[in-house]
Amino acid sequence: MSGKATAKVGGGRRAVAAETGLPIDHDSLLPMPESLAELLPGSLPRGTVAVVSGARSLEVSLVAAVTAEGGHVAIVGRPDLGLLAAVEMGADLSRIAVVAHPGADPVEVAAVLMDGMDLVVLGLGGRSVPASRARALVARARQRGCTLLVADGDWQGASTRLEARVSGYEIAGGRDGVPTPGCGRISRVRLAMRARGRSVRPVRAVGG
């Protein structure tokens, strides 16, 4: 089954939250950006592990959504994440902490941070976490109610996999709506997102 939805990031504009009408207990769900919540209802419960890949706006918008709702976020091993973009999406910087260089074992640092955070974004730097270690952390995440978002690496047995891809750019100030070299600026990034996992039906969304 596949559904279509719009997902736009940037430009300071946000889609109107859609009433899904689905019987979902909102306390058990992680706050999501509206574009994503509409697209993937119930795809990211608290206390799960999700692997994200592709365009970085996905992580940034999740960080923004969680902190805007009053949650605390730690970003581990992602020194190049643009937090200013998160601010533009509504993030509250005072609820974000950054461990840019977590040393030899970023997973250990993430495990400690799970105690107090609502969302931990963990950049693995291309590494993959073996299933035995992953199981211990998944149990910990479930117990603490902290969602672990793994980026730039593989996590055996993650319950959700989110993928985002840039499907196009909108350029403001072109002549007659056609991008003209030398004119205008990038005003919006269009994303296509896809989610797979145990808890979600395979959903594809194409931005437009």
Partner: protein, 514 residues
């Protein structure tokens, strides 16, 4: 030197200008200038002193009396220049740098000090030098030694001076100076000329100390921090700690000891040094900074986390090689207790915030205090400048004021990936594109060469010149003209939007929109 005589004069109610001698075990230990003028000397028997000066007032020595009377002088000095350290009653040292800057010169500061002490009813002499012992010697003639001239000033002094000041020399220093005198070494300068190795091998450890003083080498400078030593909480761990649960227990009791002493002193601690010694003498220390004063629980947690961090380091060779035997908490920086204002009931979401903070502080224990940073908005034009990262616990001060207008700031959206890689921007002939003094491209950019995203530009915009720091000639020369541009590499579904920055006559990839 004469302070016991001055204090004695004040006690028996005679003027300090009268001949006075203070005696201990029937020997003169201190005398006033008037007594010295008629031949009374230190070390003279009391009877003989009285014979030389029949109208001499003889008083028994009493260190408590000396200290009591000196308190008044210390208070007067403290009013003028804080953080004076008392070496002994009659002699106090203070760092002169701040005072000299405040009063205009060292000379002026010295005059102010003499006036302040005179107002307290006593005479004093001031000596200023680079090193503490030199300053003490300089105080006798009331000299101000030029910076770097310590050894020159000392070289003219008699070798016996090295033993004269009881607060700088142990009791048996006199044996050393006596021996040196008999060997023909009569001045401090001659002593300083001897090689350090020879001094150490012939005369022992104390002679090395004396030699350091004679050479004017730095020792321990006076500092206000040392005054807080009495706030330290020390615990001798028996049995030595090698497990985290034992460490947690020790941390809790040590924290309560520390907080009792902090409470008694009426201060809160904002920087805490945790110091551990292992059974075979290895020393570990880490200083914890906190924006708000530590509570007892917070202290206990930090001790536990720190010991946890030390005992469970990932690499075996980094761990302490023996169990911890001595644990010491030292408040490095204290604030008065009024600064500590805990809310009566936790605010909204306060518990979550504290929980998050504790987790972050634990990571600081594992990786070091600078590893965990919190972002705050700052002023600036590039996306990197507009976020300042502050180590957790430090005061969040942005690098620049974000409320200023910052003309030329890039509009939304900002790039979600921040980079700083040199790239090549080429024109249609393959020549590099630059930015002219008028803020224009030398030619239309056509191609971008960068690791990972080389390709034709399907769109570009800019350059938007950055007119920053033109008033600062050095910064201007360093960065030269700067400009930013947005480009779209590739076309259709594989296009990537990038932010480029031109500076130091090169293009840099500053961010990617994705």
């Amino acid at each position: 030197m004469d302070w016991p005589a001055v204090a004695a004069a004040a006690t028996i109610g005679v003027a300090p200008t009268m001949p006075i001698a203070v005696t201990l075990a029937n020997r003169v230990v201190a005398c006033s200038a008037a007594a010295r003028a008629v031949g009374v000397r230190r070390g003279l028997r009391r009877r003989e002193a009285q014979a030389r000066c029949p109208e001499l007032h003889v008083v028994a020595a009493d260190p408590a009396r000396d200290a009591r009377h000196f308190e008044r002088v210390t208070a007067a000095v403290d009013d003028l220049v804080p953080r004076a350290e008392v070496l002994r009653p009659g002699l106090s040292v203070l760092p002169v740098r701040g005072a000299a800057r405040y009063f205009g010169s060292e000379q002026a500061a010295a005059e102010k000090l003499v006036d302040a002490v005179a107002a307290a009813g006593t005479e004093c002499q001031v000596g200023i030098a680079d090193q503490l012992p030199t300053a003490v010697f300089a105080a006798r003639p009331g000299r101000i030694v030029e910076p770097g001239q310590d050894a020159v000033f000392l070289s003219g002094l008699s070798i016996r001076q090295l033993a004269a000041e009881p607060s700088l020399a142990p009791a048996d220093r006199e044996n050393l100076t006596d021996l040196l005198w008999r060997m023909g070494i009569r001045t401090v300068g001659q002593f300083a000329e001897l090689p350090r190795g020879d001094v150490a091998s012939r005369f022992g450890a104390d002679a090395v100390t004396a030699h350091r003083i004679a050479c004017g080498e730095p020792g321990r400078p006076p500092s206000g921090r040392d005054a807080e030593d009495e706030l330290d909480a020390v615990m001798n761990c028996d049995p030595p700690i090698d497990r985290v649960d034992a460490a947690a227990f020790a941390g809790r009791s040590l924290a309560s000891v520390l907080h009792r002493s902090l409470l008694a002193a009426g201060v809160g601690c904002t920087r805490l040094a945790i110091h551990a010694e292992t059974t075979n003498g290895q020393e570990l220390e880490r200083v914890w900074r906190c924006a708000e004063p530590l509570t007892e629980d917070a202290t206990a947690d930090r001790v536990r986390w720190q010991l946890d961090g030390w005992l469970n380091r990932r690499h075996h060779q980094d761990r302490p090689c023996a169990p911890i035997s001595v644990l010491r908490l030292r408040p490095v920086e204290v604030v008065s207790a009024e600064a500590l204002q805990l809310p009566l009931w936790g605010g909204l979401g306060e518990e979550d915030r504290l929980r998050a903070r504790r987790a972050l502080v634990r990571v600081q224990g594992l990786l070091g205090p600078d590893a965990v940073k919190v972002p705050i908005l700052s002023g600036g034009r590039s996306p990197i400048e507009r976020i300042t990262f502050i180590p957790l616990g430090d005061e969040p001060v942005p690098a620049a004021n974000p409320d200023q207008p910052w003309p030329g700031q890039l509009p939304e959206p900002s790039p979600t990936v921040l980079l700083d890689d040199p790239v090549e921007v080429l024109d249609v002939d393959g020549n590099p594109v630059r930015v002219t003094a008028r803020g224009l491209f030398t030619a239309d950019p056509v191609r971008l060469e960068a690791p990972g995203c080389t390709g034709r530009l399907s769109w570009w915009a800019g350059p938007w010149p950055v007119d920053e720091r033109w008033w600062d000639a050095a910064a201007e020369a360093r960065s030269g003209r700067a400009a930013r541009a947005q480009v779209l590499v590739g076309s259709g579904a594989t296009a990537r939007a990038l932010l480029l920055c031109y500076r130091q006559r090169r293009w840099y990839l500053e961010g990617a929109y994705e």
